[in-house]
């Protein structure tokens, strides 16, 4: 599988506080990586570095192997519902994903609206195009933000806790959509729910200051301990059970 981009011995953080240390990873086209780890471990920081929003302190991120450019990265930020009373329609929000390929004076014409309509119908949002955000359910709202992330036809999709306010009944549907998208783009998805996403992702990376890559979707409590990754592992088997384990 061809390489999309690489991160080499990267250190990153904010105003003197180092959050990520010596992180290295190679991301390939059509990867679907679940990023797990404790709160404050640097998961969101890692996404910000990949997006070019945060400059590495040392080390580097190299987009040249896959000729990846920043406007080919779709992003679904961690949203606490957002301001749903803000005066925008679903179509407006989806269109904003196309700003990646435009300057500050960019306009939205027929071509852009056709593209937005395509994405909306793919995600089952077409009937909602003219709706205001406060008329949507949590699951619909999340699909709107997903649509925004993919209208620009990205080659890499970054998702930060995408299932936080989706009803669990719609969760499988949402991940199913991601699996379809994964045939066209690499996906890196931050989540706290290892058990659920292990059914969908192809590999895991545990981010806890450093980054530990696990090349399979099956991850055990033992693996997590080995990585020094203090998170709760929820497994879904024939007999669903929760393994709680505190790591030092």
């Amino acid at each position: 599988m061809p390489t999309l981009f690489t991160i080499e011995s990267l250190t990153a953080g904010y105003e003197g506080r180092v959050v990520l240390r010596d992180v290295s990873i190679t991301v390939e086209e059509n990867d679907f990586i679940g990023i797990i780890g404790p709160n404050g471990g640097g998961k969101t920081t890692l996404l910000r570095v990949v997006l070019g929003l945060l400059k590495p302190l040392t080390g580097r991120i190299d987009y040249t192997p896959g000729n990846l450019t920043l406007n080919q990265i779709g992003y679904l930020p961690q949203v606490a519902q957002g301001d749903t009373l803000f005066p925008v329609t679903v179509e407006d929000v989806v269109l904003s994903g196309l700003m990646l390929n435009k300057g500050a004076a960019g306009r939205m014409g027929r071509k852009e609206k056709i593209r937005a309509a395509e994405v909306m119908s793919e995600l089952g949002l077409a009937p909602l195009a003219r709706q205001a955000l406060n008329e949507l359910s949590g699951g619909q709202l999340q699909r709107v933000y997903l649509a925004r992330a993919i209208t620009g036809s990205p080659r890499l999709l970054l998702l930060d806790e995408p299932a936080t306010f989706v009803d669990s009944s719609f969760e499988a549907d949402f991940y199913d959509k991601l699996r379809v998208l994964n045939s066209r783009m690499a996906i890196m998805m931050v989540s706290h729910d290892v058990g659920t996403i292990s059914a969908w992702v192809k590999s895991f990376a545990c981010v806890n200051g450093g980054l530990f890559y696990h090349p399979h979707s099956k991850i055990t409590d033992e693996d997590l301990r080995l990585y020094g990754c203090p998170i709760q592992l929820v497994t879904h088997g024939d007999v669903p059970h929760v393994v709680l384990h505190k790591h030092e």
Partner: protein, 277 residues
């Protein structure tokens, strides 16, 4: 003599109403949708300090107000974006300080004391030709700025974090927007008054937002509502000799109450756009 005066008053009022409604439409929609109403109140009251200082120094008070208004607008945007201070506390302090400084300077000014009431509640009579030209220029700048950068401004207001992925200039746009808002506010003070200007800017957008969630439509229609409200306010104020700003705001609030009633009836007929509001 009487008819010439009447003519110039009508012209002045119409010009004032036109520019005030453009600024209310554009800056008002920005303020309301980004939830900056309280911050804008802070800017207004801070600029009263500049009015007082202008008086004391015997320069055009609007220039003093513009300096204070711009300074407080940019300063508050900076402080809150850096997270250095709790936003509402910072605004509250600046709000009171501006009023205090303004009043101190006005009382310290020797000789003729300006009519405080006209600054607080507004008067079309005190508006000068220069004020209207300045307001006209700011209106034009606001129109061009919003038309050219419409999508960028809309998306920064809606979701700043996401906007950072497609433009490196989020902060620059925020500063320009808040500075223009500050200027728009200051230049409307003589007409609407320090205390009432915020309602002038926010009520029209609130009225239209009862009916649509299209940002551009809100700008255009709230400008129209402002123009009607302000013109009506001027006329009533002229015939009754009541303070212009107070009359305009009362008229606008009556519009708002009527609009809510209509909205309620519409919502009764079908599930409305505003059901969760």
């Amino acid at each position: 003599m009487d008819s010439i005066f009447a003519y110039s008053f009508v012209t002045k009022s119409l010009e004032g109403a036109l520019f005030a409604s453009i600024t209310a439409g554009i800056a008002g929609t920005y303020i309301v949708s980004r939830r900056l109403v309280f911050l804008s109140g802070g800017i207004t009251h801070a600029s009263f300090g500049g009015l007082g200082l202008g008086h004391y120094l015997a320069i055009n008070p609007v220039i003093g107000a513009a300096v204070f208004g711009l300074g407080s607008a940019v300063g508050m945007e900076y402080m809150t974006s850096r997270g250095k201070m709790r936003e509402d506390s910072a605004i509250g302090i600046l709000w009171a300080l501006g009023m205090a400084i303004g009043i101190i300077f006005i009382y310290m000014t020797p000789g003729y004391a300006p009519n405080l009431m006209s600054y607080l509640f507004g008067s079309i009579l005190t508006v000068t030709r220069g004020d209207l030209i300045a307001l006209g220029i700011v209106s034009l700048v606001l129109i061009i700025y919003t038309a050219v950068f419409y999508r960028t401004l809309l998306y920064i207001s809606f979701d700043e974090n996401y906007a950072r992925t497609f433009t490196r200039h989020v902060d620059l746009f925020k500063y320009i927007s808040v500075a223009l808002t500050g200027l728009a506010i200051v230049l409307n003070i003589r007409m609407a008054g320090v205390i009432l200007i915020i309602s002038l800017l926010t009520i029209p957008a609130n009225i239209i937002m009862l009916f649509t969630r299209k940002y551009l439509r809100i700008i255009v229609l709230s400008s129209v509502v402002s123009f009607i409200g302000i013109s009506a306010g001027f006329a009533v104020s002229w015939f009754t000799n009541l303070p212009t700003g107070a009359v305009i705001v009362t008229v606008l609030v009556i519009f708002w109450v009527i609009a809510r009633g209509i909205r309620g009836i519409m919502a009764g007929n079908k599930t409305g756009i505003n059901k969760k509001a």
